[in-house]
Subunit: 265 residues, 2 copies
């Protein structure tokens, strides 16, 4: 956190688009904690992972502005929104915020879904700038999902994160998922690790009016360790809001030494 004599500057984005119910809930919540700048995609960028736009230029539009809450839409991905938000929109405010919030996503980003998630792409991008970030997701894909419980737990987690000492905030990135069950049945918050597993596809194959074959992606998650109680899938299935700390060093340290013996020369 910067000097405590001013309100924190909080940057909000998502991957469902600036018009989604989930980001409306999150930006309102964020105003309880600080001054808020929103830069979010102008349409859905679900499944866009950590992608950036290199083949075409980006356009940014002011959507609304009131004291303490500015909203912009951008024609790019969630990661683009973070980058252009920091470099252009926040240029006269130090270039970076105190905290980045992404979501609330309509749908789970638990397990390996974190890898495909645009919501978490934006959060991890912020963390790569050293800015603490939190991605929030609700395990309900519907546009009209009820974000009451998500907002409750988001408020508690944001409050605790903003009270953390500065040395623990640098690069902090949290993947928070809230189960789609009645709020009173949620048991609490549980810090977990990412569940091992994979998404395997079963494409829907159809033929268009011009007689061309086309394919819709459709798959499901296979949990490689359904019994492990320290995973986010176990936590969600057992009624917890789950928190997985995330980092982006992809090095497989367990293989470094043996690969060195095989390949170094």
């Amino acid at each position: 956190m910067k000097a405590s004599d001013r309100r924190p500057l909080i940057f909000v984005t998502n991957d469902d688009g600036v018009q989604a119910a989930g980001i409306a809930a999150l930006m309102r919540l964020a105003t309880e904690f600080g001054d808020v700048v929103v830069v979010a995609p102008n349409e859905s960028y679900s499944g866009m992972s950590h992608s950036i736009t290199m083949q075409r230029p980006l356009f940014v539009s002011a959507v609304s502005a009131e004291p303490g809450l500015e909203v912009y839409s951008c024609t790019g991905t969630p990661v683009d929104c973070v980058k252009i938000g920091f470099d252009e929109i926040l240029a006269d405010r130090g270039g970076v915020p105190d905290l980045v919030l992404s979501g609330i996503n309509h749908g789970s980003n638990a397990n390996v879904s974190v890898v495909y998630s645009g919501t978490m792409g934006a959060a991890t991008e912020a963390a790569m700038y050293g800015i603490p970030s939190i991605g929030f997701s609700l395990t309900d894909h519907s546009p009209a999902a009820d974000f009451t419980a998500s907002v409750h737990y988001a408020r508690e987690i944001i409050d605790r994160v903003l009270r953390m000492p500065a040395e623990r905030l640098a690069g902090l990135c949290l993947n928070v998922n809230v189960p789609d069950i009645p709020p009173a049945e949620i048991k609490g918050i549980r810090v977990c690790r990412q569940t091992r597993g994979n998404w395997r596809e079963d494409f829907v194959h159809r033929t268009d009016p011009q007689n061309r074959d086309y394919y819709w992606m459709s798959g499901r998650f296979y949990n490689f360790e359904p019994e492990a109680e320290d995973t986010d899938e176990w936590g969600l299935r057992n009624g917890y809001a789950t928190v997985v700390p995330v980092q982006m060093d992809l090095t497989d340290y367990s293989r470094l030494a043996s690969l060195g013996e095989l390949l170094d020369r």
Copy 2:
């Protein structure tokens, strides 16, 4: 590897598109080792990371076929190509190949660029299916880059990987980068870890003929540890072809315990 009485089935993709010089070099090289099926994007998908296409259907076209080398193009991302390749194109050949090769990318995917890379998105996706995979990149962005040295080192690495025992192959994923220097000056192969750092943007801001502001992404890599000799950036700068083993468990294990104390309840 499957039964040794048949040639390995090798799947090839990339993110520069099926027409790129880099994938032409890689698919030809792959035919030295096995039967080859190529499914690659129909245009450039650079910077697409691990993104998947959920908002529109995918189309697949046969590009060419000769004994031992089938080539298809797909209207999706590199990860889409892996998924539709496994689920549809390889459906009658067991649904998965023995090895996945991605590239050769026109441009470096060393350091944190691995996170943004479509080339490595495809490779890591294959590894999530348990299939060994290797992404190859040359630190030269030009369409007419010289892939001679890359092919030389790719041949050596593929040969060594195909000789590894099965238990070491499951989920193996390698990020290989070859420096853009005269082949004779390359010192050899060096297994490394991912360099810590980040890409920071400096958008090019212009006005279009309709007087709308637009922005082109443009940035550069900041190396947080230029002196560390075990990183891929150090290896490339010092004349080595670098190999980083990659995995996709993003959990920040170093923060699990302290976050649990702060948040569990």
